[in-house]
């Protein structure tokens, strides 16, 4: 379903490819199993690394004895924190900048261990098998102590500190500001509804785990790193600072990457240890993180708790909200992993909420550190959308009606939120109504009543949100493209950031082909190699459609202009009278009078005498682009229908509908693929996935037997609705939407499970179906204990 079609893109080239379901160029190699991932990189003389990790969550290291491990046949070296930790000169990533209260960091545990999985030593051997054998020969004496597990333990008055030398376990905080106006609103409100929303710890779980092959060439003093990452330039800059190697002596190569979702935005200590080991030995070293490592120590995500209060008037308008958030960021959290600032900023989301009070704490615990995960701030939507249902039930109205009363309508645009964000080109109420129409809301309510009469329990949940895509601030402000047409008329777009599943090889080529008026097949996209590409921050913040394609569009526009000028000169026509289409430039109305793009390219490089006087040679442009706003807002509404089995508590997702407005769609297949991936992660996070710790700090879900991912049999066919409201922040009218699928789906699923309960009208289900996970038996509808 598409409500609005994109307007033709005037003066910027035609739209032959943008908007089409162009077959993904990546598919041939990826679908047939011929992608090239980090583990496919094999270098002569390559050694293999394995880590000895702590199985104790918190304790003092009395001694480490690696002598037996060093003697095992095939072992080349064993390194500990004593070998490496003093080597690190500067530890900060571009995203954070130098100084400040940087995240705690060390390459390997030295004085103490701080989570189960903390790397203590790295063995370098001729095979991974031998390296793992040697790990068993390392003798470590650790004096265990009671770990800090869970936010309550971290905040307890007598809590031990996770990181020695710190005063407490506070990783970051936003104190509650005195707000007499808000207090007045709450004091006089007809209704005040308060609830605490929990979110379980669940993880990015990329299909490809981390991996790195690091080659130090002592004779050229050059470092080459193949790595599974979201941002090779960030890796290069970080290694340069950390190890004191000039950036221009480092080459970082990212080939196919089997997903990142935030986990691979920045290097982790394990990867730094591999680089250090290879440099020390002067030999290439490979480390492929195995699945248990990825689950146990490859960085975690989510794990939040938020208390939300709504002040509502007697006509069900929300007058104000107060929120208090606690994030558990584990021990060694990644840069940008705490989202307390964004959660407060974005909380009002799609609703007219005049005043917001927000306070938050991020706390350290003796667990694996937190990283960004697809919509790292999504607690704003997860909590708000659950609260919309909880509040509606307590107020005695339908959750849809409550949303309709408070939603920001298109007639009210531009709208400035309580936090000062300005929405202009969004269709929030349009998404809500499209999703409601697709799911058949009224008919569902009748079906639900009939089902209950038969002892079947079905429920419908909504998740409405505004997504802050194209995040352009700090190191993420820009992207660059080098677009050139070579002497044979073929087009190369060299991009500053690359794809780890976002289909940029296809979508960038679509945009460039349209701007240059050439066939899609003539455009090749180069990405992921710092030796070839200009600086870029890597993927994150749903930036690529807006910012990377903005750069591609700008550079292509320069080349297009130059092509037209050359053609105008050759054809003795005005550039305004020229048409550029399908690789040919002709005079409008006189199709016989024309010149091919290839011919223009040959003039540009081979026959300078035919160029307009004074024009430089070549057909190439290097452009760096930043959008004209720090956020490009897209919007979406998810609707989920579930059936809950009264005996087993088993939840079956019957339907899942997403109405999405990401502006002009470059490729609807890619848009829908992005939505689907995010929705599946949300369904998983609610119904299947949980990384739990016991009170001793042991991770309980370190294999796929215990950490359950949804599979094809658990996920319904997802139904898509599209609205295309052109964005004003960039010339293509694009908006990002890469994270939204994972933001809107969790509350939609949770709300649907709650809605299935026959007691939901009393509000009791709000606490029953609140998270940790909505897995059996917690999803049982009739708990005899209550």
């Amino acid at each position: 379903m598409t409500d609005t079609l994109a307007a033709p893109t005037a003066n910027t080239g035609g739209a032959r490819f943008v908007g089409q379901r162009v077959q993904r160029r990546e598919d041939l190699r990826l679908v047939t199993g011929h992608g090239r991932y980090t583990d496919d990189v094999v270098v002569p003389g390559m050694l293999h690394a394995a880590f000895l990790r702590s199985d104790i969550a918190r304790g003092v290291i009395n001694s480490i004895d690696v002598s037996a491990a060093r003697q095992l046949d095939g072992v080349v070296a064993v390194f500990t924190g004593a070998d490496f930790n003093a080597e690190i000169r500067e530890h900060w990533v571009d995203f954070e900048g130098p100084g400040g209260d940087a995240s705690p960091f060390r390459v390997l545990a030295d004085t103490d261990v701080r989570f189960a999985g903390d790397p203590i030593a790295v063995v370098i051997a001729t095979s991974r098998y031998i390296a793992e054998d040697a790990c068993e020969l390392i003798e470590v004496d650790i004096e265990p102590s009671t770990p800090v597990i869970g936010a309550d333990a971290a905040l307890a008055a007598d809590a031990p500190v996770v990181h020695a030398g710190r005063a407490d376990n506070i990783a970051g905080a936003i104190p509650a500001a005195a707000d007499p106006v808000l207090d007045e609103i709450f004091a006089n409100a007809a209704h005040v509804i308060t609830e605490t929303i929990d979110q379980n710890r669940y993880l990015c779980v990329p299909m490809e785990t981390r991996g790195i092959v690091s080659q130090w060439d002592p004779f050229n003093q050059e470092l080459t790193v193949h790595i599974s990452t979201q941002g090779p330039h960030g890796v290069r800059a970080y290694i340069g600072r950390a190890l004191g190697i000039p950036e221009n002596r480092i080459r970082v190569i990212m080939k196919d990457v089997g997903g990142g979702f935030g986990q691979k935005m920045f290097m982790i200590p394990d990867e730094v240890a591999v680089v250090l080991a290879g440099k020390r030995l002067g030999r290439p070293v490979k480390w492929i993180e195995d699945r248990r490592e990825n689950l146990m120590s490859g960085l975690h995500a989510r794990d939040d708790r938020m208390t939300v209060s709504f002040a509502v008037d007697d006509t069900f308008h929300i007058l104000g909200v107060k929120c208090d958030l606690i994030e558990d960021v584990g021990s060694f959290n990644a840069a940008g992993s705490s989202s307390i600032g964004f959660v407060g900023l974005l909380f009002p989301g799609p609703y007219k909420i005049p005043r917001v009070g927000f306070s938050a704490k991020a706390v350290f615990t003796n667990t694996c550190g937190r990283c960004s995960y697809r919509g790292p701030w999504m607690m704003e939507t997860a909590a708000r959308e659950q609260m919309m249902d909880i509040a509606a039930r307590r107020l005695g109205i339908d959750p849809l009606e409550f949303r309709r009363i408070n939603v920001i309508t298109s007639a009210e645009l531009p709208y400035t939120t309580a936090a000062g964000l300005v929405y202009d080109a969004v269709s929030i109420d349009g998404s809500l109504e499209q999703a409601v129409s697709m799911v058949g809301y009224e008919a569902f309510r009748a079906e639900q009543a009939a089902a209950r009469a038969q002892g079947r329990f079905i429920g419908l949940g909504l998740g409405l949100y505004v997504e802050p895509s194209g995040i352009a601030m700090g190191n993420m402000s820009s992207e660059a493209a080098i677009v050139s047409i070579s002497v044979n008329g073929d087009v190369t777009a060299v991009m500053s950031s690359g794809s780890h599943g976002q289909s940029l090889e296809t979508t960038v080529a679509q945009v460039v082909a349209d701007r240059l008026g050439v066939d899609f097949e003539r455009v090749t996209v180069v990405q992921g190699d710092t030796a070839a590409t200009p600086f870029g921050p890597g993927t994150g913040g749903s930036r690529s459609a807006v910012i990377l394609n903005g750069a591609a569009s700008q550079a292509s526009g320069d080349v297009r202009t130059k092509m037209l000028e050359i053609a105008a000169h050759v054809l003795e026509a005005a550039t305004d009278d020229l048409e550029l289409e399908a690789g040919n430039i002709s005079v409008r109305g006189t199709p016989s009078k024309g010149i091919s793009v290839t011919e223009v390219a040959r003039i540009a490089y081979l026959r300078p005498q035919e160029l307009p006087p004074g024009m430089s040679l070549g057909l190439e442009s290097h452009a760096r682009y930043t959008p004209n706003a720090p956020f490009t807002f897209s919007n979406s509404c998810h609707a989920c229908v579930v059936e809950v089995d009264a005996v087993t508590g088993g939840v079956k997702v019957l339907r899942f509908i997403v109405s999405e407005d990401c502006g002009v769609m470059i490729n609807p297949d890619v848009v829908e693929g992005q939505i689907a991936g995010g929705v599946v992660q949300g369904i998983g996070g609610v119904l299947y996935e949980e990384m739990a710790y016991d009170m001793s700090g042991n991770p309980m879900n370190t294999t796929f037997v215990d950490y359950l991912l949804p599979t094809a049999t658990e996920v319904p066919i997802i139904e898509y609705g599209h609205i295309e409201t052109r964005s004003s922040t960039n010339p293509g009218g694009f908006k990002g939407m890469g994270e939204g699928g994972a933001i809107g789906s969790p509350p939609a699923v949770i709300n649907a499970v709650a809605d299935a309960s026959p007691t939901s009208s009393t509000g009791r289900s709000s606490s029953r179906c609140r998270r940790r996970t909505s897995a059996p038996p917690s999803t049982l509808l009739a708990d005899p204990a209550e």
């Binding site: 068993e136 088993g650 299947y688 294999t703 037997v705 359950l708 949804p710 059996p776």
Partner: protein, 291 residues
């Protein structure tokens, strides 16, 4: 996730495998499909100095009907059981439960004997063996002996076989006449080990009186659980005399030590088990009626 070093032995025959087990003693482990053992080895949860591979042993693969008995050789892959015409004509309960085991990739490699000898309490094949009173043909250098399924499963991942014995074949009795079979289970995801499940078999006489029946549950305790008192109530009763829900209640009453943990309290697991018994029983009755 690489296993500790081990010596690999490819057995040529069942007798050869038995000889290797006899020679190598407790330091040896049989491997066939490796669907449970290989991950445990890779995570170094278990280690053996010797692995004896029986996956290519011809006389450990195959399915034969011998009068009233179906004999399935132990290293027969699940997928061959699932698709066998002989199996569906002889012991259709095996055909019904096999698709519930993992995913097809797992069933391509996993073997029926591996599942039974591994003795996971939540596995389907052990419950079928217990329900139907299968005989386990066990081979060692000391000879062959038959163990009744009722005596074979003694606890979690534990059987009454000696460490030098290999499971050679499973002998399933063939039920004939007006018979029906059913299976039901509840798992978090399709293909996962069940939180609880049940299989049921029934034979009706011409007057719709239950002349023979068997019910076994899996996932509920340390081993498959036969619902003997439920069966004795059902035997001689007419169809419909005892409701499926009552059958479920009777069945779980027989479970002496139900599995109990913080995530899955015993009361919950037993209520799921009762529900699966009711469904499996209903399916079996329906099939006996119309089959």
């Amino acid at each position: 996730m690489k296993p500790a070093p081990f010596q690999y032995h490819a057995a040529n025959s069942a007798a050869d495998a038995a000889q290797l087990l006899g020679d190598l003693g407790d330091d040896a482990k049989l491997i066939s499909g490796g669907q449970s053992l290989a991950p445990m080895l890779a995570m170094r949860l278990v280690r053996f100095d010797h692995l004896v591979d029986i996956s290519r042993v011809a006389d450990l693969r195959g399915i034969d009907r011998n009068n009233g008995t179906l004999i399935v050789q132990a290293a027969t892959p699940d997928v061959l059981v699932e698709r066998s015409d002989v199996v569906v004509a002889s012991v259709p309960l095996l055909t019904k439960v096999t698709p519930l085991i993992g995913h097809f990739q797992i069933r391509n490699r996993g073997t029926i004997g591996g599942s039974i000898a591994h003795a996971d309490p939540a596995a389907e094949y052990p419950a079928v063996a217990v329900a139907l009173g299968a005989q386990m043909e066990c081979l060692s250098v000391r000879g062959t002996r038959m163990i009744d399924a009722a005596d074979y499963f003694v606890g979690i991942w534990s059987t009454s076989m000696e460490s030098d014995e290999l499971l050679k074949a499973i002998h399933f009795p063939v039920w004939s006449g007006r018979v029906g079979f059913g299976v039901a289970e509840f798992a978090r995801r399709h293909g996962d080990f069940a939180i609880a499940g049940a299989v049921a078999a029934v034979e009706l006489d011409s007057g719709n009186v239950i002349s023979r029946c068997s019910i076994a549950m899996f996932g509920v305790s340390g081993q498959p659980e036969r619902a003997l008192s439920a069966e004795s109530h059902l035997l001689g009763s007419s169809v419909g005399e005892i409701s499926p829900e009552e059958v479920g209640r009777l069945a779980i009453a027989d479970v002496e030590s139900p599995s109990d943990d913080a995530n899955m309290p015993a009361t919950y697991r037993m209520s799921v088990a009762a529900s699966t018994v009711a469904t499996a029983w209903t399916n079996a009755l329906t099939e006996a009626h119309h089959g």
